[in-house]
């Protein structure tokens, strides 16, 4: 490690030691002790959910004020101007500490929308929103999907019509994660119905408190409501809130989608990490007297092979990044595997637990698995469905011919 990185690492540790406690040693896990939650999505009642978001914002502010809120961002917009490697190093060290979960802010907003604003927005928007987002003051959402435009995102029909210096937006977005907490959203709209569909789209930054924006919670199969429908009715947006060219919004969308794949599907710590930990799964088998079941053991081994190999793949991508090499298809592969690994883990647990997963007996670490089970179908859909990810791998990595498209 060079001196610069050594100094940086020391800085990070100093900062975290001053502001957070060390996370409990995960290797010293004991069955029956601690939180047994396996929730992937929050299913908190609204007040608690708001409290959760407040804690996330507070922690993001502390990070930002100490120079770790936007490690790779340019200094003129409040970033630290360091490399992706510094980012990776920071994340690795932070994982050793017990800090609030900032997913609400960081997955969509900081991970996907921030980089898009930086790449495509006009300077005044960058000044206005980037520091606010990375300081934890503003949350951003992705207003892409519509009832008629999911995998085929380029068929969005929400209209934007020019009116003087403004644009007027009308239409409906759907599945919008964290819209209920957001101050801004990045919307894809149709500005030219005559052009081929990829060429008639324009992107706008929509203040979520603009008149005509209505967010309606959409209940998920987990019971909670992390995502929403967003209705846009006669919403007036100044032209200077446009990202990229008029009718050039597809390029903007690609920036977001690229970052989406890099963000979604990194192996999480916390409850999800616990679901994939060999210790936890072994303890589950011991607690249910299934530890000697040969068929279950074979399945567990197969699952763990995939979990660990996915981990090695991520480690390899990180090392490539550290030595300045752009990682290959690892990210897309690990996104696919992440959804599959968690799905298989939840179904494995269900085979071990049997009826104890269909009703809560109050026994620790049993019914809790149902929370994860109910989240897994989403992981094969969000951020690009399995089928779409496979198309991308086959076409972009293996160079297979494109599908016939309308």
């Amino acid at each position: 490690m060079d001196d610069d990185m050594q100094d940086f690492t020391a800085d990070v540790r100093r900062f975290l030691d001053a502001h957070a406690a060390k996370a409990p040693d995960r290797t010293a896990f004991t069955w029956g002790e601690g939180d047994d939650s396996m929730a992937y999505f929050s299913s908190l009642p609204p007040e608690e959910d708001r409290e959760h978001v407040r804690r996330a914002r507070d922690w993001q502010r502390v990070r930002y004020e100490n120079g770790f809120g936007w490690i790779t961002g340019p200094e003129e917009y409040g970033g630290r101007g360091l490399t992706p490697i510094h980012d990776v190093v920071y994340d690795a060290i932070e994982a050793e500490y017990d800090v609030p979960d900032t997913g609400t802010i960081s997955v969509v907003g900081l991970g996907m929308i921030g980089p898009t604003i930086l790449a495509h927005a006009q300077p005044h928007l960058k000044d206005r929103w980037l520091p606010a987002m990375y300081r934890g003051d503003a949350i951003a959402c992705q207003l892409f999907s519509e009832p008629g435009a999911g995998s085929d995102l380029a068929s969005v029909t929400t209209r934007a019509v020019r009116d003087g210096d403004d644009w007027v937006l009308d239409g409906q977005k759907v599945w919008t994660s964290v819209a209920q907490h957001s101050q801004i959203g990045l919307a894809l709209t149709r500005t030219n119905p005559e052009a081929p569909k990829h060429r008639g789209i324009t992107a706008f930054l929509v203040p979520m408190d603009a008149p005509g924006v209505e967010v309606r919670p959409l209940r998920q199969m987990t019971g909670g409501a992390d995502f929403n429908e967003v209705f846009l009715t006669g919403v007036r947006i100044p032209d200077d809130h446009r990202l990229g060219e008029v009718d050039g919004g597809w390029t903007v969308a690609l920036t977001t989608l690229m970052n989406e794949r890099a963000t979604v599907g990194s192996e999480g710590a916390g409850p999800v990490g616990a679901a994939l930990s060999p210790d936890r799964l072994a303890a589950l088998m011991r607690a249910t007297w299934t530890g000697e079941d040969r068929a279950l053991r074979a399945r567990l081994a197969e699952l763990l092979v995939d979990v660990m190999a996915t981990g090695y793949l991520n480690a390899r991508a990180t090392r490539a990044l550290r030595s300045g090499v752009t990682p290959g298809p690892e990210r897309s592969v690990s996104k696919l595997m992440y959804g599959q690994n968690l799905t298989r883990a939840a179904h494995f647990a269900s085979d071990v637990l049997g009826p104890r997963m269909i009703a809560d007996t109050g026994e620790w670490g049993t019914y809790a698995w149902s929370e994860l089970l109910l989240a897994t179908p989403a992981l094969r859909i969000l951020g690009g469905t399995e089928e779409i990810m496979k198309n991308i791998l086959a076409e972009r990595v293996l160079g297979l011919p494109k599908e016939a498209r309308s």
Binding site: L300, L304, R316, N391, L398, L400, P401
Partner: protein, 369 residues
């Protein structure tokens, strides 16, 4: 010694170029039907030009002292090319067995000849059941100082040609490792008919064969366990290379073969098969290379990573080899096409050290499950 990324790249190109010249498909096909199933002239060139047998032999024994990472690169290339040569038996089985025995005298006697390509060697553990568990060994060694071995060994890779055969046999102290000379009296080696004809195997009959103890008496369990870790990572690299080759063949075919007026690769069922193969291949390379890296660093995490690599690459290669035939359709099922050669290698590699039931338990054991 370890080599940096550009060094590894050079090593890979040199080996690939050599194998493209010396081990194209028609040569593989000719060799797999001949006896011995390798070309001594090519083996001599591999040793003189590329010093391949010397790769992992320590410098003090006349080798080049490289580790698992470099060996992994070479094995990936050999796996791609289905090279018929006594490399796996000599370098991946016998060399680590000698080193793991800690027997300096045996190392000094055998390793220099291996390093310069004069001696080929192998390791004989399994008997008719095919298990590599030393507790199940029934071949016996009697005598003290002057040992004589009696019993049978099966699945001995290159067992009819290896100059030096390291044999596990039981003494009162437990399973122990012995060195046997191929010309020793009382030893007969018959070729076995094999699923994968590119990897020669033999059945040995030992009738009071004179042998030399290697390492301590009763040490074979420890030695074989160490060898299995390293060899299964070596095998994993070979499997990853073979799987990558199957994927490349499938993708190339899917881009060019037309049906219904379009390239078959534009049909999603085919496209997704190829994407699934890619996922398997990426995982396999990550797992085998990570395990090799951890071996080179002598990390505590190596035994787990070795078990993961073995299981992950066994499955990946099998998936890739099966789907490669499917993507090729009828032509993939012909003897003339290379697909079945990879299929045979994939299946036989998956089962070589005992098969899924064994390697799954090995992994769980290491994870404390």
């Amino acid at each position: 010694m370890t080599v940096d990324d550009s060094g590894l790249h050079e090593l890979r190109s040199a080996v690939r170029e050599f194998l493209e010249a010396k081990s194209p498909e028609d040569v593989v096909r000719k060799l797999m039907e001949s006896e011995p199933r390798f070309d001594p002239a090519v083996w001599a060139q591999a040793s003189d030009q590329l010093r391949l047998p010397a790769l992992t032999v320590p410098e003090e024994y006349g080798g080049d002292g490289f580790g698992m990472v470099e060996l992994g690169v070479v094995l990936e290339e050999m796996g791609r090319a289905l090279l018929c040569a006594p490399f796996f038996s000599t370098v991946v089985l016998a060399v680590p067995a000698l080193l793991a025995s800690g027997d300096a005298e045996a190392c000094a006697r055998h390793l220099p000849g291996i390093a310069d390509g004069r001696t080929t060697a192998t390791l004989a553990v399994a008997e008719d059941a095919g298990s590599w568990d030393t507790a199940l060994v029934s071949a016996r060694a009697v005598g003290d100082g002057r040992w004589r071995l009696t019993g049978g060994k099966s699945f001995v890779i290159d067992g009819t040609t290896a100059d030096l055969i390291l044999v596990v046999a039981r003494t009162v102290a437990g399973p122990s490792l012995f060195a046997v000379d191929r010309t020793a009296a009382g030893l007969t080696a018959e070729p076995m008919e094999t699923l994968d004809a590119t990897r020669a195997m033999a059945r040995l009959t030992l009738d009071a064969v004179p042998a030399t103890l290697v390492g301590a008496e009763g040490a074979a369990e420890r030695i074989v366990s160490r060898v299995l870790d390293l060899a299964s990572v070596g095998l994993a690299a070979e499997q990853a290379g073979g799987a990558r080759r199957c994927l490349e063949e499938s993708a190339a075919y899917a881009r060019t073969r037309h049906q219904f007026g379009r390239p078959i690769g534009s049909f999603q069922a085919v496209k997704h098969k190829c994407a699934d193969m890619l996922v398997q291949v990426e995982l396999a390379e990550a797992a085998s290379r990570e395990a090799a890296r951890l071996a080179a660093e002598d990390s505590d995490e190596f035994p787990v990573a070795a078990a993961v690599a073995h299981a992950c690459c066994s499955r990946a290669y099998m998936v890739a080899a099966m789907e490669n035939i499917q993507v090729h359709g009828g032509i993939g099922f012909t003897w003339e096409h290379s697909a079945h050669l990879y299929f045979r290698r994939a299946k036989s590699s998956q089962l070589l050290f005992g098969g899924p039931a064994v390697y799954h338990e090995r992994l769980l054991d290491r994870l404390g499950v």
